[in-house]
Chain length 214, copies 2
């Protein structure tokens, strides 16, 4: 079976899940932590080398403050959970903005090994696709591959993106690394994660031809 080298995860539907469970919207994010750890462990198990989580974006920070605080806390908690695993961990996002949580600064400088290392995990926090390409002018002269010019240049081309929560869009997720990605949608909300979602996505990916645009 052909396994993607790099899996992108868009963990959407936390707020809709909370409302469906008679909770206020911001209560949904905490229930996304276990799914995140579960996906990480499944990647370890099947041998996916790189995993990128879409934490939150600059666009998201325009939401009500109570939600912003909740999803920011969930991202901090998720990164701290992952740092107890065997992982090579990097947090990427606009650290110049006050929306970036200070607690995650130590994870942003360079990829850090935790435990015995292993899966490369990228966690996008206060990510902004415009910010990501904003550096391109300076670096351009040294390189021909546009991905190398990005602020997220330590994140490689994404093979498969799984989005939970039924929306069929990228919502600004790594536009240049995603140009050739296969895109799998799970209708269930992220807090209702089930390993079958993951395995179904891999089964589907295995049936796709890989042309890289050719």
């Amino acid at each position: 079976m052909r396994i993607p080298k790099h899996l992108g995860v868009i963990p959407d539907g936390n707020r809709r899940w909370a409302e469906n469970n008679n909770m206020s919207k911001q209560k949904g994010y905490d229930n996304g932590l276990d799914p995140g750890l579960a996906v990480f462990k499944l990647c370890e198990k099947v041998g996916i080398e790189e995993l990128t989580f879409y934490g939150f974006t600059s666009d998201n920070t325009k939401r009500p403050k109570i939600q912003r605080l909740a999803f920011t806390k969930a991202c901090i908690d998720a990164v701290e959970l992952l740092s107890k695993e065997n992982a090579d961990l990097l947090v990427i996002g606009n650290t110049d903005s006050p929306m970036f949580p200070k607690k995650l600064f130590p994870y942003t400088k360079e990829r850090k090994r935790f435990g015995k290392g292993g899966t490369k995990v990228n966690f996008l926090v206060n990510y902004d696709w415009k910010w990501d390409i904003s550096n391109i002018s300076i670096a351009q002269m040294r390189s021909r591959n546009p991905i190398e010019l990005l602020k997220s240049n330590d994140i490689s081309r994404v093979d498969l993106i799984i989005r939970w929560g039924g929306r069929r869009r990228l919502s600004g997720f790594l536009p240049l690394q995603a140009v050739y990605s296969d895109f799998y949608i799970v209708e269930d909300y992220w807090p209702d994660f089930h390993p079958n979602h993951f395995y179904s996505a891999l089964d589907w990916y295995n049936t796709q031809d890989i042309t890289l645009g050719g």
Copy 2:
């Protein structure tokens, strides 16, 4: 009903259609001309203001020459067909490459009005996402919106992308204009186009929330 302002069309599956119909692969492209004109007329009818066709890419030109000649001819024919309609037409792609068909040069300098004008039609020919962003360094100082920095800066944000042929990927289609696009897949191959595909996509789009990442 909420109608997208800008529709992107990825007309995939011509070669698979030809093989299914016991023709050699390159014979499929001609059968994509009628569908293209049909989509154009449907856009006119429902009031979609801008329509972008994914003609062929630099990646595609690595295919066997007999196929390359066939899809290049189909793109020339399609543009010439559209120039007989009421449309504001622009062809965008890397004209510096020998893969760009000379016959389409006159359509590349600026958007041209045909007939009474009307729908903005963008036709991507020998398009290359790397080429598209390669100019960014020079223009950057004058602008904050990255789309304005692209070679395709006359193409606006895409609201809805319909891809025929079952693949669930962008294949390098306008990565920055597509960051917030909703993405609708038609399993049928492009030469088997039916107006129901178009209307089903619009019905689905009408049920999506539009957050632009927020």
